[in-house]
Point group: C2
Chain length 246, copies 2
DNA sequence: CGCCCTGATTGACAAATATCAACTCGACCG
DNA sequence: CGGTCGAGTTGATATTTGTCAATCAGGGCG
């Protein structure tokens, strides 16, 4: 577990505020493990043994039910995931799958609970992490309930466009079927949604998308900062409390 | 703020573990306020000033976007709500409306942040509260993405049936249009979904629903404990840490 | 190169859901 | 008592979305 990657984990908002000793203790019992593409890391319904941190690779969070399958989110390094289940010690509501060969840091839940109980700074970081996760889920739910499939796709493209520099070109980082599942539609309908967006300047060439009329696309998408905007993790600021760091 | 209701608030999982002094300090700056039916308590996009606790009445959490409106949840006393926004100090993602005359305890966010920073037991309670909220949202998202409208209604009825004693009769506690919005469908379609369920022994008489063939309804609904099951709030148990209680 | 496999696309069709309009039924109110 | 209003329902229809099948395109590999 003595890796240069550890420094990156250490810098995560979740761990940055921990005392050196606390962090050491937390990762002492942890495993950094390499998984081949396709590995199912966790399965919904199982009880959590570890808090997972994606250190390298890409992880798909998905859920099943009624014979169907849907992608809840895609985790890019360096990010912790399934924090809520680990904290609550309740069965996972989602499964996780390595989309590519991935390196995962697995922190035993006992250590997690101990750190929460004994390290106030870490507890606060967990609070912010969970609040962030909650709000991401609320956004997804709003996206799903308030928008049509074409609108969701249009907004997805606009968000990616922004993230990639706003140059009028977007490269899809995921397979189209994964994007379809993320947007909550059948793969066939994603193709058709792209066709619908042709009228708004969207030209598809494999994973390369050209946005030739961002204004028209934006008018269609009606982007909403409360759904599509950035998810901030502000620090809890409290003038009255002197933070104990030692 | 000297009310017998305060004892109920005190008993909430969120506050139960606080020290007497800490709880006093927290509610010292709080207001217990009565609102008439229909009052919009908070509006999405606003910055949070208070953590809200429904003490009496019923509160609808809803969201808007793209000219549409959807109900995210319904809060029954005694429950805190919009915890995540208050903790994160980021704009609300949902609005809240008193569905009936309601009494709301409003706790200034400054006090909340202070309590999180200084009271480890409270911080842990917040952690559990947020984890619970996160998981509720994940369930809603799965419900929405994995099920058809009829399946969602069937499961809604089965959950209510269970909650009301499983006697074969269910009384709807909400207006049908609110249920429709909660299920993510148009009110007209709720009527039609009820008609579809006639074949499964569901008889509608206003707000009174008879479930004459629970087995058939269950077969249709394919209930999933990971979506419809109870949301537990287990305590964080850690053998190594001695909990400080005073 | 040619083969196969997988993902993506297209077409035809079916099912689900939304929309618009009309109508019913009670509750409330003058 | 009659009128009015809002919620709910129903019908007709449009739109959206899913399903099934066929085809296409590209990548890896013998």
């Amino acid at each position: 577990m003595r890796s240069e990657k550890l420094a990156l984990v250490r810098e995560l908002p979740l761990f940055a505020a921990m005392t050196p000793g606390g962090f050491e203790a937390l990762v002492a019992g942890a495993y950094l493990q390499q998984f081949p593409a396709g590995t199912v890391l966790i399965e919904e319904g199982e009880r959590p043994d570890f808090l997972h941190v994606a250190v390298e690779g890409t992880v798909e969070l998905y859920a099943t039910g009624a014979g169907r399958h849907t992608t809840i989110g895609v985790v890019e390094p360096v990010t912790s995931f399934i924090t809520a289940a680990a904290v609550q010690d309740e069965p996972y509501l989602m499964s996780a799958r390595a989309m590519v060969p991935s390196r995962i840091l697995m922190i035993p839940v006992e250590g997690l609970h101990h750190a929460i109980a004994t390290d106030p700074a870490f507890a606060r970081a967990i609070v912010l992490e969970l609040a962030r996760g909650f709000r991401v889920m609320v956004r997804s739910l709003k996206n799903q309930k308030l928008r049509t499939a074409v609108e969701r796709l249009a907004n997805y493209l606009l968000v990616e466009h922004e993230r990639q520099g706003g140059t009028g070109a977007v490269v899809l980082g995921l397979e189209k079927r994964t994007i379809a599942s993320l947007l909550g539609i059948a793969p066939e309908n994603l193709s058709r949604a792209f066709n619908t967006l042709k009228a708004y300047g969207v030209v598809v060439d494999g994973a390369r998308i050209a946005l030739n009329d961002p204004a028209a696309l934006t008018a269609l998408a009606k982007p909403d900062p409360l759904i599509d905007g950035p998810v901030d993790i502000p620090a809890i600021v409290d003038a009255r409390s002197e933070v104990s760091h030692g």
